[in-house]
Assembly symmetry: C2
Homo-oligomer: 226 residues x 2
DNA sequence: TAGATTGTTAATCGATTAACAATC
DNA sequence: TAGATTGTTAATCGATTAACAATC
């Protein structure tokens, strides 16, 4: 049962799948037709065996002795991540960050379709954010019954985040991308991913503060996370 | 050699440290004075032993039979992550995202001090972004010699990201928070963290697409990442 | 065919967590 | 003191990667 069996694909494999996708876009722009796993390793620093292992959760993608067809691999990974079909998304919180997120062109490129923008600030409700009229979050029960979005982006202040989340779950949201700097409590059937700008800076800050004490070590490949 | 020995603290521990910090802020706002590791587990879903283990890399923080003093733990974690002292940060890319990032109040709260904003678009150079005059990225050699920032936020289009990065390394940047959807190649002494909004949505999308096939399982604690 | 590279197994490595002696 | 909870050890679990038979 290959090509999509769901049983326990590690989340970190999914994350790398999304990374491969980005990299494959680069390759397509450079008109590269075929790559081998060892070329992936050279160029991204991700171990060749790991690349093959990640793919193996979903079936067979390459030709022994030849490698992987770039266009084919791209479309198959997009399929696995369901980036090949429209996913409806709502944004809650029409502040600076929410505005930047909704305005990001990569959303459309990856078939994420923002269907509504919500806020609870009466000064904002009714005004426009890009192409969207900002809706009253207090009325999400009615409006999401129409839109039927399953993914929500939460870009509200920490103090509002849990209450917003509770409401989102009520209206059928199953996946939340949380930008508020707090741990959201959700029922078990709801998936949350947290994005914390400050947390990332904190990790960088830690490494910085120690760099002067460090002696040179010897690896060569790019050292990156996420 | 406790309280800051650097030898191989897992990055994931550092990430959780930043999570603990957020949580401790919540507790302080609620005037909670003491917590035990099992309360942390209840409220955040992070295993109590893991919490204790994470802290153990840096010394002793609690009192057996009592628990952890919230204010003390907060300040010690802030110290470890060097969030107790100013870190100078530059932003490259004065677009929507860059604007939202620099405007984020959490930066100041955590002592990240944005010292300059750069762009290469002549239409933007000289204009203001919040309190900052947008500087010509072409002149960063001179300007960062003054500011001496070590952390850079890269919020430029994919096509510009690698060239920008190369230049940043030239001017002494040691840590990069990358928002461009591409893998940056950096020398071994430079740390990169990638933030990819689309990647996060892709992981959510994957989970969504399968949810209808899934039968209920039985865990209860919050299932979150990052 | 010979050479290259896959998909997968098994060994290794590292992170999570249960268990418990130390101690407040 | 008795009860609670720490810090840490050791067992478990899971992810990474080397190695190689299969195969293009």
């Amino acid at each position: 049962m290959p090509t999509n069996s769901h049983d326990k694909v590690p989340v970190i494999t999914l994350e790398r799948l999304a990374t491969y996708l980005r990299y494959l876009v680069d390759l397509q722009q450079d008109n590269v037709e075929t790559i081998s796993s060892s070329e992936v390793e050279e160029q991204t620093g991700i171990n060749a065996a790991q690349f093959r292992k990640d793919l193996s959760y979903f079936g067979e993608f390459g030709k022994p002795g030849v490698g992987y067809n770039v266009a084919d691999l791209h479309s198959r990974i997009a399929y696995i991540l369901k980036l090949d079909k429209e996913q409806r998304v709502i944004l809650v919180g029409a502040g600076n960050l929410g505005s930047a997120l909704v305005g990001y062109p990569g959303l459309k490129e990856h078939r994420f379709n923002v269907v509504a923008v919500y806020d609870n600030n009466v000064a904002k409700i009714g005004r426009n954010l890009w192409d969207f009229e900002i809706m009253d979050f207090g009325r999400i029960v009615e409006t999401n019954a129409l839109h039927n979005a399953r993914i929500a982006i939460v870009a509200v202040p920490r103090s509002a985040a849990q209450a917003v989340t509770d409401k989102l779950i009520e209206v059928g949201i199953k996946a939340i991308l949380n930008f508020a700097p707090t741990v959201l409590r959700v029922p078990e059937h709801v998936v949350v991913r947290n994005v914390s700008f400050i947390q990332e800076l904190a990790v960088l800050s830690y490494h910085l503060s120690h760099e002067d004490e460090e002696n040179k070590s010897s690896s060569k490949s790019p050292k990156q996370t996420s």
